[in-house]
Structure formats: structure tokens, C-alpha cells
Subunit: 382 residues, 2 copies
């Protein structure tokens, strides 16, 4: 038994997800029990700073330098609060963090290098909580020839594969990503890719029109209707036709794109939200039809991430996927919210055990490698 | 016996210094023999990218994201070239890298956080050379209450302390920094601080006026004369009166400041170079008179770093320090050039041995801590 904490802070900028898990073993012998989970929202200043740091036009080195340490501090404060709230007394074997992605260049142009950038320095967490921190998981996969994403599929393989059903796991965070687990699959048989926007476009438009972080239960979308020329235009984005493995981020589906849409259709806020929600549902279903269903009969789709709580999005997804069972993670006794934080605890566990954790079929890497950096417990002198 | 590589790439942007050392022991039992050393210059495009990434006005997140990986690649290529040139066959226990500082905010304003940012991701080195990489040494010292700099003094304490002489070690890289080693000193008795500009201002002016990287042997400065109002103005900078421990960087003495000077005095290039050289010599001597000599009789000053080869700067330093012996590291059988790269090998060795390596008296940290992040050898599965 080893208590460990996994932490995720995603592109949707909701905040810092903290999961305390009880882990044992590694590889296919991993067992992982969720003990406690809570998400700590970013304050609006921090959200604005992350957005500013993520965009070419508004970012600069002082902001990135400062925010890297500020996020490290916020991560540490979230863990302090978490341990207190749940009265956790047991020592932690390690903390594993995803960090905050502020840029991802899997297919760079203009002389730039294939790269990714997650910030949130691990030193403060290691110092305050007197523990090892595992961080910066994505670069090594990119160096091994992969896209650095998605990384969660490896952990889903460990936790979700079923002996009877072809399962498709769809995460709807800022970005949408899917993991396909054929029944009784081996590691080589899994595949995964980013389907396109998750909540990112919807949330950006909600922010633009209503200064709200998200469309609660899809109630705004429900009041609008499709803007056909906008939907058609967005559906023609070349990302949707690109063969997996593929990964995307704020560059293609972020505020820059959405703000232009909002300006153009400023008289029809509900219709914009409706259309972006439809696009998200369509892009998920369309990617299944193009890239999964030709190979496999899908028995079950399990939705995780914040998008699982957008009822209108879920309805549109079911409509776009006739004859397929669409469930939420909660429907099978799991937690949509905690999934990614748990995943990083499992990835950290692999690194601590000197074991690889990139799924070549998901990231496109040429070989399996041990991911991440280990920050030693700075107090633990030998 | 353990072969290890230490790598430094400093604010002077000369390039990538690589030192192969034979290390044994740790703490005060460290022995370190330099086997080979070579510096690999940055090409001018990379230099320009680093400068652009370092300045608030010209930096952006895509450049920083890309350059972080590009530098990691250049580091790895430098090691490949180095191992080939010197026909090194022995396996490496580890590689330790400083990384390239693109920002340092020890005393931030405008709501920014106390922070520092070194880039050059370690993944490529670990992957290509199938070894452990230790990196990112500065953040943990800052979290422990220090300035994150200078870090070299700890290694100088291990290598340079003398039973008979009060030694002052002056490094003149981009920035000037000094370490004071009283005879037979203990760790607590050392102190160190950044004296101010090293070659940074001279080099920036050489670039502005002559498109050259540095003033070879000080020959340009020698042809000029002092501009009294400029010297007086620069000497009045509050940094020079600030009590140690203190650290500085490109923010105070970089291109932004120098370019304004060059524009103003554009008719007098040699005089500008002369005055900036005098400022550098004066700032070193002045800091000794203010902060060292009241406590200690200096027996010997040993100069390291590129500035040791600027004969005019050395002459002005001797003139400003009457009755004190000023030597180069070479005069006592060591290498000015290799010093910092060796230092990072020693710091990496401390981290690998779970030992602290920040000198509280140098950085201002509240406690000693284990510094840095360890990137596991990604191929070394257990």
C-alpha cells in the first residue's frame, strides 16, 4: 500500500484536480483505489494569466517565468487544503502532477521545434509536503517520436479494459479525447487520439457572451438553434479528417478562433453556443465513424470529464451515435471528474518504479520510455 | 570512479560548455578531476532566439516552448560531438545541465512571483545518451528562501579553499560573481554574491557597434577613453549599494540598457566600450571594498570566466585593487573556461547522492536543500 496524490489542471482552466489514491504494484498488476477527490477552482486572475501566457500575442517571458512558480505555489496550497479537509494523516509516497499546458507544438511551422510546454514548477510541492514529485511527463514521449499526448490511455488500459465488451472511453475536458479498448485487448491493440474540441469552444463563447465559465447542463445551447453556415465551416477544419494518432490544443480550437466567431455572430449568442455544442458532439461521433467503427463494433461509450455534465451535449452525442450505449463514468461506479488526476498518479507510479507508461498506439511514439522528471524530497538527506 | 558530464550555457550566450569529469565521493570528500573540456558556440540564429526569448517585448510562448526543446537538442548534439572528438568510451553515470536562463525575478514587481526560468529540456539528452540527467537546480533554492544564485560557490568551497590564504574567486561571465573563501573556512563562513555586470554590457556594445561577440583582449576598450558622465551615471545604479546576498541578470545590465547607451553615445563607440569595461572593473573592486575588505584581508584574487582573457579589463581590475595579487585560474593550474561546467557536474553529483548543495550564505536560502530534478534514463526499465 502506498498513498499518492495525482494532480491535473487541464486546458479548460477549471482549476486544480487533486486525487488521493491507494496504489499498489505497477504495469498490469497496478491496483488503484480512489480515497478522496476534490477540485480547487482557479481564481479569475490566475485564469486570465494562464490564458495570457498561452497566446502568442499576449505572452511574454516575465509572465511565464512568474506563472511557472505561482502555479507551483497554488498546487502546493491545494494539497495543503486537501490534506486538511480530508484529515489525511498518512505520509505520501509521492505527488504526480500534469502541470498546466500553455503551448503544444506537435506539428510546428515557421522554423519552430516539435515541442510542448507544461508549467507549474514542482519544487514548492516537494518542499512544502516533504515528498518526491513526478512531473513533466510529455516531453520524453515527444523525444521518443510521439505527440506527447494523449497519456491517459495507458492508465485507462490498466483500469478499464473489459473481457466482454469493446469499450470506447471519451473524455470531454477542454479538448475531447478518446481511448478505444477492444475486449481483452493487449497494450498494442489500444488506440487513442484527440477527437477535437471538448468544452473549450463552448466555454470560450460562454465567457464572451455571458461572462460565465461554462454552459450549465447545456441550458443555453438548448435555447438556440444551429447556424448552418458556421457549423459547415467549422466541420471543414482539416483536423477532423487527419488520421490518428493526432493531438490538438488551444492553438486550433481556443479563444482566438472562438472570439472571431462571437464577433461575427454577436447578435445570436444562444445559436453560437448551440452550434459549438453540436460541433463538439458531431466531431466525437464523426471521428468514431471515420476512425473506429470501420475496425470495431462499439459496445459501449463511457463519457468522462466535465462535458459529461452537459446534458444537451450528451443528448446530441447519443443522437449522433444511434444504436450505441452512451454512459457516464458514474453509471459504472467511477468518477468522471477524478479520472485525469488518478491517471497522473498511476503515471507517476510507473516512473517511480522505473517503468514506461507511454502507449505507442496512442501517442505515435516509436518506443516505450520512462516518462517525466523526479524532484527528490529536498529534505531527505542521505 | 564515475565519469559524468557537466554542462553550462551562460548569460553571455557564448555557447554550450561541456566538461567530462571523473568524480568520486560527495560533500567534503568530493574529488573531481577534469578529463576533457570543450565549448561549442551557439550559431547566431540560436543566439538571437535566446535573446528574443529573454526580453519581455520580443518573447512569446511559442518561441519559449520551441526553444526549450531546441536547446535540449543542441545540448545533446554537443555531447555527441564531444564524446566523438575525445573518443570517450566509458559509460556516463549522469549528465548535469544548468540550462539557459531566460529570466530571473529575485525581486519581482507588478504582481509577479519570485521566480527563475532556465530552459533546455533534459529529455533529449537522457534519451540520446541513455543516461540520467540532473537539471533545473535553481528553483528549489528559491523555494527554500534563496535567490537561486549563485550556486557555483558551493563547488568552489569543495575545490578551492586553502589552509593558508584568504581567497577571493571572481567569475567574469555575462554577469560577475564573487565567492569569498576565508582560509580554512567552514561552509558557514563562505559568502558570495553577484558583483554586477561581467562581460554582458561590453559584449552588447561590441555587438551594437561592431557586430562582434566580445572585445578581444580588450583591444577596442584600450583605444577609447572614459565618458565621465556615463560612468558616473552607471555607478549610481542602486544594485551596487545593495547588501549581499544579491544576484542579478540581463534585466538590469542587458541589451535594453546598453542599446540606449549606444544610441545616445553613437559617435563614440570606443569610448563606450572603454567606459563599460571600466564600470565592470570598478564594480568588482568597489564591491570588494564595500562588502569584503571590511571583514577580511584579501590575500589572493583568482579570476575565472571569459573576462579573464580581456587583458584591459584585468589591468583595470589590478589598478582598482592596489596591493592585492590578481591571478587567473590558469596561473594556479586550473581552467577559467571549464569552471562552471565542472561546477554543475559537482552539483549533479550532490543531487544523485541525495545531498544538499546550496550555500545559504551565498544564495540567502533559509535551509540547505537537495537541488534539481532528475530525469531517469528513459531506456533503463526495471
Amino acid at each position: 500500500m502506498a498513498y499518492a496524490i495525482g494532480m491535473m489542471s487541464g486546458t479548460s482552466l477549471d482549476g486544480i484536480d487533486v486525487a488521493l489514491v491507494d496504489l499498489s504494484g505497477c504495469d498490469e498488476n497496478t491496483t488503484c483505489e480512489l480515497i478522496h477527490y476534490k477540485s480547487y477552482p482557479y481564481d479569475s486572475v490566475t485564469q486570465q494569466e494562464i490564458l495570457a501566457a498561452s497566446h502568442i500575442e499576449t505572452s511574454n517571458v516575465a509572465l511565464i517565468c512568474s506563472l511557472n512558480f505561482k502555479l507551483g505555489k497554488l498546487y502546493s496550497e491545494a494539497v495543503t487544503q486537501f490534506l486538511k479537509e480530508f484529515n489525511v494523516q498518512s505520509p505520501l509516497e509521492f505527488i504526480a502532477i500534469h502541470g498546466q499546458t500553455i503551448h503544444h507544438l506537435p506539428n510546428p511551422t515557421n522554423g519552430l521545434t516539435h515541442s510542448t510546454l507544461q508549467i507549474g514548477d514542482p519544487a514548492q510541492l516537494a518542499f512544502d509536503h516533504k515528498t518526491i514529485v513526478v512531473s513533466n511527463f510529455r516531453p520524453m514521449d515527444m523525444i521518443a517520436g510521439g505527440n506527447g499526448a494523449p497519456l491517459v490511455p495507458y492508465t485507462e488500459y490498466l483500469l478499464f479494459r473489459d473481457s466482454q465488451k469493446n469499450r470506447v472511453l471519451q473524455n470531454i475536458g477542454g479538448i475531447g479525447n478518446v481511448t478505444v479498448l477492444p475486449k481483452n485487448c493487449t497494450e498494442d491493440e489500444i488506440f487513442a487520439f484527440d477527437t477535437g474540441p471538448g468544452n473549450m469552444m463552448i466555454n470560450a463563447a460562454m465567457q464572451y457572451f455571458f461572462q460565465k465559465d461554462y454552459d450549465d447542463r447545456g441550458n443555453v445551447a438548448k435555447q438556440g438553434k444551429i447556424i448552418p453556415e458556421l457549423l459547415k465551416n467549422l466541420q471543414s477544419h482539416p483536423y477532423f479528417d487527419k488520421l490518428p494518432p493526432k493531438a490538438t490544443g488551444r492553438e486550433l480550437f481556443g479563444e482566438d478562433v472562438v472570439n472571431k466567431i462571437c464577433v461575427h455572430y454577436h447578435q445570436f449568442p444562444n445559436d453560437v453556443i448551440h452550434t459549438l455544442t453540436e460541433l463538439t458532439a458531431w466531431s466525437i461521433a464523426d471521428s468514431y465513424q471515420k476512425f473506429i467503427m470501420p475496425k470495431l463494433v462499439i459496445d459501449e461509450v463511457i463519457i468522462g470529464g466535465g462535458g459529461a455534465y452537459n446534458q444537451f451535449l450528451m443528448d446530441r452525442l447519443s443522437y449522433n451515435l444511434p444504436n450505441i450505449t452512451v454512459k457516464r463514468q458514474e453509471d459504472i461506479g467511477l468518477s468522471s471528474d477524478a479520472k485525469e488526476a488518478i491517471a497522473f498518479a498511476i503515471l507517476g507510479n510507473q516512473t517511480i518504479h522505473s517503468r514506461p507508461s507511454n502507449l505507442m498506439s496512442a501517442t505515435g511514439a516509436k518506443i516505450p520510455v520512462i516518462l517525466g522528471n523526479i524532484t527528490p524530497n529536498p529534505w531527505n538527506f542521505k
